[in-house]
Symmetry: C3
Subunit: 395 residues, 3 copies
């Protein structure tokens, strides 16, 4: 970012806290035709009581950042098209109403209604007791809860930045710690950036191990999309090295693993693990597009940073949460012990960092969708795709 103006909304270490905040082009008068704004408020009532929300609108694309929920994205909109889905939960849910360890470690679901939520940092995947032996030969036991804690921890630092030179970047920055005595000491610093008028949101995350000892981390981005991008005949398109069904139930759906039904009462989730083809600098992409190929949601990321991609098909009834998950990640959402065995749990040395930059963009015309399909086709032409029809023990 070149010259910019910034505002600290929250900084607990310095006792900084703004109850509300707004900046918009009608006050800043940047030479852009787009009617952008960034506004913060605190929600009241119901499960959302006390949740902070930062609404960013770039004039075309809008999204709501939730500092109270690990800097997740509650939902967004692009020129009238909703980004997100309708969960049975009426969120955003304050973490105090999310008892992670309840119901055998599935309490996380009580707060799950977001466009984007991070699963991690100490662990993600299903709940259970992880038993492992450390370098010193000591055996450890830990109860893990579904998808970890980061999505239910609040940011201690929140900042807004507006670029004063073209392209007039709008950024929201937040820091969330997942730390405790005798536990992890991981700090997430996330930056959401968009540009006035753009269909694109850039996510830049850094995770640091602030402990003096090595630490493990896992991270999966749970990006959840419903209509109008998801509908009967929608497709997920990606340059494939391989696709593997997670289990027998996903295997039974292999014939149609990359297309979607409309809302279907009683549909039970199917999950597919992808390995993608990347370009010469390691970048890859996945698109969810409509049957008419007139709209698409595109996720672009680096395979070096996010080697795993998971597709979550959960096309039950609208009332029951009709949704597709596009999930770039460090790891697949298996139990942590499985991921550790396969070398997919990241180990950070003391002071070590992990970093990723990825984007979510809307393809809002047949032309844009066709261009992305062509881009994927070119990548696919560089390598053969293997579609496994049954689960594999190595993923």
């Amino acid at each position: 970012m070149a010259r910019y103006k910034s505002w600290t909304l929250t900084d607990v270490a310095s006792d900084v806290w703004l109850d509300s905040f707004a900046v918009a082009n009608d006050t800043l008068h940047l030479p852009t035709p787009h009617d952008w704004s960034v506004r913060k408020r605190t929600l009241r009532g119901g499960l959302r009581d006390g949740v902070d929300l930062i609404d960013v609108h770039n004039g075309a694309l809008s999204f709501a950042v939730v500092p109270t929920r690990g800097m997740g994205l509650w939902r967004g909109e692009y020129r009238g098209d909703r980004l997100g889905w309708r969960s049975p939960v009426l969120g955003p849910v304050h973490p105090r109403f999310v008892p992670l360890a309840d119901r055998g470690g599935l309490g996380w679901l009580d707060g799950f209604d977001e466009l984007l939520c991070r699963c991690g940092l100490e662990s993600n995947g299903p709940p259970g007791e992880d038993v492992w032996t450390d370098d010193a030969g000591l055996t450890h036991r830990q109860h893990l809860t579904l998808h970890g804690r980061i999505a239910n921890l609040p940011a201690h630092l929140v900042e807004v930045r507006v670029g004063l030179e073209p392209p007039f970047e709008l950024s929201v920055i937040g820091q969330v710690d997942e730390a405790r005595l005798f536990g992890p000491n991981l700090r997430l610093t996330t930056t959401y950036t968009t540009v006035p008028g753009s269909p694109r949101l850039v996510i830049h995350d850094v995770v640091e191990n602030r402990a003096a000892q090595p630490g493990e981390m896992q991270l999966l981005y749970h990006l959840n999309v419903g209509p109008p991008f998801l509908g009967a005949g929608s497709r997920v398109v990606a340059p494939l090295r391989q696709v593997v069904p997670r289990d027998g139930f996903a295997a039974a759906g292999m014939d149609t693993y990359d297309t979607f039904l409309g809302p279907t009462v009683g549909f039970a989730e199917q999950v597919y693990y992808y390995e993608l083809v990347a370009d010469s600098v390691g970048r890859s992409l996945v698109m969810l597009c409509t049957a008419a190929a007139d709209r698409g949601l595109v996720v672009r990321f680096s395979k070096a940073e996010l080697p795993c991609f998971t597709l979550w098909k959960n096309t039950g009834a609208l009332e029951d949460g009709y949704v597709c998950g596009l999930e770039p990640a460090i790891n697949y959402p298996n139990f942590r012990a499985v991921e550790r065995k396969h070398g997919r749990v990241r180990r950070l040395p003391p002071g070590g960092r992990w970093e990723a930059t990825w984007t979510v963009e809307v393809a809002d015309s047949r032309e844009r969708v066709a261009a992305v399909l062509a881009e994927i086709g070119q990548l696919q032409a560089t390598a053969p795709a293997t579609i496994h029809r049954t689960p594999r023990s190595d993923v």
Copy 2:
């Protein structure tokens, strides 16, 4: 209700929230002699920090509705007589201080100090692991916590209505969802109504299954009463088909199952399951009255809507929570698997509703108490009563 004026105090979907609210006859000037009022405020400090309270006073009867705690009633008063009891807990307790799954699923007790709290909606009864097989032959396992979640979930919608025509009804309406992905999607809509000067409170509840799949529900109204209605020699009077002691300990108290001791150090709870006699339109009633028969608390309900009635005798020392529970319900407070076996777990189809209207009223004179006793006597005369001296496997 005829013509009325209404105020939305909370509506999260529309970002409506009133920090405080008051309406009273000195501002509305209705042609009633009663000094009624409805006021909302948020409590601060201790376990109650952040709890919303709506005090309704009809000029004779007052009660406090708690939107933050599932629209329960904290306590009330009728012409100087307290409605409610003194729990060791200094409530009302914000749900964030009620860890339902702690202590083997008994954490609910940390928040229990109310005049009326609902037990449900997904389940009520003791904690444990419920294992069952669904229509498709799949086996499910779920950890249930004592008396379920609804009493510790906040309302997302709260409205106050005042009738502008006689009888000038005063109503508080609230909606609470018990919903999550892969879980129930039940919505409670409750309406408390009273009339200026009246000794009566009407509770109207609707529970809807908003899922696209059938869902189970349980609901028990835990109405808890202490002095001056409860005291040495107080009696519970009801038109009986049968009474069954819950267990051996209750059985040992059968000789005095319907009368109460004064506060008794070390008294251990005794629970009795009632089946009542109803009138030709299905209505029945139960009264707790004093030894002198000069005061009574009367509960009236429909046996079709609320087929089960449970009496909870917990007459320990005042310091330890001297209280009697009058509990009209869909089910008895056994473990959900037991209630399911006996067909007492309600199954709602997609979009299905359950509904009940019942009343709590104060009989504030010997004459009123005598009239209610006579009413119960007439009902009892229509059917024989069976007093079981030992527990039965079918309740």
Copy 3:
């Protein structure tokens, strides 16, 4: 206290709540040269959102009382020397972010970053299932969580007092209940008192059993100190009857049990159980002093009130929480069943009270440290010290 002025900051029973509060010598104009003040505010953002803090400054010594966290002390300072430590947790943490039962009952650690936190009142020590038989021969089972609940319960009553006559005492008083139906009904009333210009803080605690039945209690004061009092070569000095290592790991460190390493990556905690020598009126003391003997933190207490003292050595890296715990207590921090067996769980009759007065003071010069060392030496001269090299079954 002689004549004083007092302010009620919180009193839930009377609906008293002050959002903020300040009193200082520039408004009260007491005839003291010290620039004292008492200020209350509510913290916002991050894990501390909603936490009340009362900063007391006596002109030399300052400390922050946390009503929201059981009246613990977050941290303090004496003429530029920090009192407290740097936990990986960025606190003070609101109890809603501390799920006590999570991770096998170790969730307490999520909120642990304080100078002083109480462990109790129903239990302290490690988590687990306690099974015991009561006087009536009934067997009870209870899941206990690490160090109990009191540090994560908010005060319902908070008062500030300022003495109007010499020595112009400054006090903060708070009440916290640990109570529920069918559970304990214990009330802690704590008073922190200091005097303008003094290096001393006096803690006076009363615990009452408000139940009509006998009740158990445990209490351990977890006083946690880091640099500059703790450093390489720092020592803990105390008049000893005996010291016992908690386990094999502590036993392996017996040669240096009373001295400290500097921050040491990977150091695993060592715990020592002390029995102290007291003077003719039962008072004893412990000092943590620097290698240079130029600074010390002194804890003084009554052995009759607090018969057990535990030393917690946890000198890992600074980033990992370099800290020493000085822990006067009713009991040692073993599992409650062990402490009960050894008669170290306090049993309070109905209405019974337990009371203790103890002090934390800073020795801020070689002379003061030498004087305290001499004081300890005189006590030690009255009785022999036994240094056990291995754990003992009776402690």
